[in-house]
Amino acid sequence: MDTNKLMDAIGNIDERFISSALNRKPKKKSKRFIAANFLILFVGVCLNMTTLFRCGSAGVQDDNVSPLNVIEHNGAYYEQVDMNDTAFLDKYNLPHEISSDMTGAWLGSGTDPNGIRSWNLYSYDPYSKIKTKDGRSVRSVYINEEDGIYSFVLFCNYTMSDHTEFTELSAVYGIDEWQDIAEITIGDKNYTDEKDIKRLYENFVSSYAMGGDDFDAVITDIVTDEFTHMDILNELAATAENIRMISKDGVVTSQMTYYPTINYIEWALSYFRLNDPAIP
């Protein structure tokens, strides 16, 4: 069979199909649909982007940060950490205090929209020597200085990105192969064995990456009369597991969420459809 035959066969389909397509009117998005979309964003923000809210219901709340400020640098958003939140700093292997010798190269400066506050951004010197194979630096942690007070800022997501490949995101944390990883934790399961790390990382990097619209289409496709959009989002939120990767250099990845029900990972506004379950 060739494509011409297929095209000709399509040309002879019953007119009811053509009539239906001809008469389709753009449907208005219902309030429920808008609410569901909002929830996706909200769940995304709560569970994964960790930016603006503390989320009380999901199992990954402990990794959230209440940023004092969100700044943009070099095409990515960074969240300013509250340096009084020592538990959070511990989770990310970061010191409770920043001394001036920890500041590396000056990266730039910024001001808020009102021009009242201004700050300087520096690399985090202990990480500045860590490079990926192609020579890229760790870009997950920088130091913010405002009126002589230092605080960490953590990579959140790229500012302009429909979706980002998994390897691009892991490179932000200085990881570009499984041998760079010391441990991976998914929910309450911790993996330190090389075989497990290799299996998991290869599963992650061979995933199919997509953006929010495509993921929304995935959710829409599994909506049934029995399970509404909202039911599915609630189920995803209830069963979500946090994923943490720690590199052999001690850099901690953040904001990754695994949805075991549909076998997807969400990370920095990108969604990754895994080939195999992350938790066997």
Partner: protein, 184 residues
């Protein structure tokens, strides 16, 4: 004018039928032809030929939907004209949708089968019946009408990305459906 009234005008051989079809469905039909041919004057020629063909075929045919019937005629005429002109250029939406559908049958080039065209149409109709109404409409808009993703987006309120993902899945499903039916 209502579709039933238009068909009646054809049956009493009133030339008002031609202008009624042109007025109600002319723009869509012209867009289908232009999406395939990418030449407004060729598309216009197709439109006039199709109106004549409809005049000649109704009666004896009595289409329930004169719009669908008319668009079907113009689509097939445009493809015939496209094939005559094909050597000149490849840049239309039809080329793109044609290439997309080629994926469905790409691994069967070594297996030559004589496929009954009517049977193939039946399988495609079965496939369309298995889809949601919205997805079936999207499939028809893309592969019957050769609408661009942008045009489909404006008619469905879905994003182009969403439509693209749906079409990808539908092509894969169609491929499986045709395989199961022994069509490839």
């Amino acid at each position: 004018m209502q579709d039933k009234k238009i068909v009646e005008l054809f049956f009493i051989r009133s030339e008002e039928a031609i202008s009624a079809v042109k007025e109600k469905y002319g723009n869509t039909a012209l867009r289908v032809a232009n999406n395939i041919l990418r030449d407004p004057s060729d598309a216009e020629e197709c439109l006039n030929d199709s109106l004549l063909a409809m005049w000649d075929s109704v009666p004896p045919n009595r289409p329930e939907s004169p719009g669908a019937y008319f668009v079907k005629i113009i689509r097939n005429k445009a493809i015939s004209m496209y094939r005559r002109n094909h050597a000149k250029k490849r840049n239309s939406e039809f080329d793109i949708s044609f290439d997309e559908l080629s994926e469905c049958i790409s691994d069967t080039n070594d297996v030559e089968k004589t496929i009954d065209s009517k049977l193939l149409t039946k399988y495609i109709e079965e496939f369309l019946d298995s889809l949601s109404a919205e997805n079936a409409d999207i499939f028809v808009m893309r592969y019957f009408m050769s609408f661009s993703l942008k045009e489909i987006s404006s008619r469905t309120n879905l994003t182009e990305k969403n439509i693209s993902v749906r079409l990808f899945r539908m092509r894969n499903s169609l491929r499986e459906h045709l395989k199961k039916g022994g069509m490839m």
